[in-house]
Amino acid sequence: MDRLRILIVVGSPLLRDILVRGLSREPRLEVEALPTSPSDEALASALLRHEPDAILLGDEAALESRDALRLLYDHPQTVIITLEDDGKTAAVRRLQPEVSFLTDVSIQALVGSILQTCESIE
């Protein structure tokens, strides 16, 4: 099975380092990260370039629900996970439409959610 491609778009360098390091430990994931919080155009371009199975958005890069929905329509195969500002919760979106919520977010929880959600699409 091909590895699932994850694109991390997080403004905080510290959080980005934590996510890249933690998610990269999972051999079934191929992790890429954008260096900074991009503009809408840069994000759209990155999505076309990387064609990720899942995109992980954090803090200031997090999308409003409406923007996330638009992104999902443009990239219907992509799962969008947005980390909330408090760092403790995240929303997992896919084009069902369906939203599930994670509490007390950990690397294990993120890996489990990504694998479960992406694999259920295939």
Partner: protein
Amino acid sequence: MVPRGLPSVVLMLSVLIVSEVRLYREGLAELLAREGALHIIGTAAHTADALTQACELAPAVVLLDHAVAESLTFSRLLNQVRPQILVVALGLPESDDAVLSFAEAGIAGYVARDGSVQDVVAAIESAARGELRCSPQLAGTILRRLAWRAAVGGDPAPQTALTSRETEIVRLIDQGLSNKEIAVRLGIEVATVKNHVHNLLEKLRVHRRAEAAARLRSRDPHFLTARASRSLKD
């Protein structure tokens, strides 16, 4: 230089990580553990747990997420009960007020909100050397604040030490005893207690009995340590 024939000794800085956010707590522990000079000896999600662990494990540095509830109080208390432990605040907004508030609470260093892992490591190592990594602008603000404090007499002059009897009376005041009860407890006249209280208030340059207890706690790291720990848990 290490004498020939002896094994070289690498001094590791022990670090306790305090953050309510599990992602940060666990992620930082893993990332910092990879740094050769840092040894992560524990993590805590709350300040009460952090204070207990800090007192038991005696880390060189506490890395404190500024967003933790009561982070300022924790920093202040730890500085009183374990002044040898350095506190480095994590994720501070780069505003003068935020940094100065934590500086007054006794932090030895900080990492700005947009800091990286390398910045965290550098801040910890700088704090251990007694240095502060900060912007020239903030350094200027700190100097101005010090000058202002000196001008308005914000820093109290050195006080005359309390006698052992006066210290004993402050402890009893802190336990909530009245002058009469203190007199009974110590087997002395109420008038004598009043004299002691008058003298100790003057020495501590405070006006109220409760202020005297608070002042003594701030001066003596070992004074009422258990009470300090309890107050965070309550």
